[in-house]
């Protein structure tokens, strides 16, 4: 018997840590890691509320799988962009990649 609120607070803390990573870090890969943490926090919440409503509605879990696909796509394209930017400008600091034209 674990209180629902414990899970939700852990998820909230994870989300805020990820948010800090996204906002504060310079390295673009670190920013992506922060996004991963935030997505994980969201997934925990979805599963917790699936349990909270008695594990009958399958909407939460189905959404988790869709989030998974989105996370995979985001990481794949994001890291590819970072590698490409690195190859062209030899930096992956997010605030230095500011020109729209390669």
């Amino acid at each position: 018997m674990i209180p629902t609120s414990w899970y939700l607070f852990v998820a909230a803390a994870l989300f805020c840590l990820g948010l800090y990573g996204v906002l504060a870090r310079k390295n673009a890969i670190a920013i992506l890691m922060g996004v991963e943490l935030m997505l994980n926090a969201v997934n925990i919440n979805l599963i917790v509320f699936w349990r909270y409503w008695g594990a009958k509605e399958v909407a939460g879990p189905a959404f988790v799988i869709i989030v998974l696909a989105a996370a995979a796509a985001e990481v794949a394209v994001g890291l590819a962009l970072i590698i490409s930017a690195y190859r062209r400008r030899h930096t992956i600091a997010a605030d230095e990649i500011d020109a729209l034209k390669g």
Binding site: I65, L68, A72, V75, A76, A80, I83, R87
Partner: protein
């Protein structure tokens, strides 16, 4: 249900402890006589030039990338396969369509030469 996961959790601990304890014990039994030459990075007797973290080609990344996409695809398909009895032919074809869309990705990667080892 939770009992099975308790077993898995304990199994993780045991499976990590077995080699861990063995390595620890051997570390006590074994001689320890380090010297400068012995702790050198092993490169067939030649001295290491430059730092060890060399640059890599993006090819490794592309393999991992295609793998990630197909892994996620498989995660979608496993529940579909488990629920197979309850599915209509239409629902099965939805799953097949899902696979065929991603086959397009495989063909693209193949055509672009992304799967070639250079």
């Amino acid at each position: 249900m939770l009992n099975e996961w308790l077993y898995i959790g304990l199994f993780i601990l045991v499976a990590a402890a077995l080699p861990g304890v063995a390595i620890f014990l051997a570390g006590i039994l074994a001689p320890k006589k380090p010297n400068l030459l012995k702790d050198e990075t092993y490169e067939c007797g030649i001295e290491t030039v430059g730092e060890s973290w060399i640059q890599f080609r993006a090819q490794y990344y592309i393999y991992a990338l295609v793998f990630l996409i197909f892994d996620v695809e498989a995660v979608f398909l496993y529940p579909w396969a488990v629920a197979f009895n309850a599915l209509t032919l239409y629902a099965v074809l939805e799953g097949v369509l899902f696979i065929l869309i991603l086959v397009g990705g495989l063909i693209y990667a193949w055509r672009k030469g992304a799967l070639e080892w250079i």
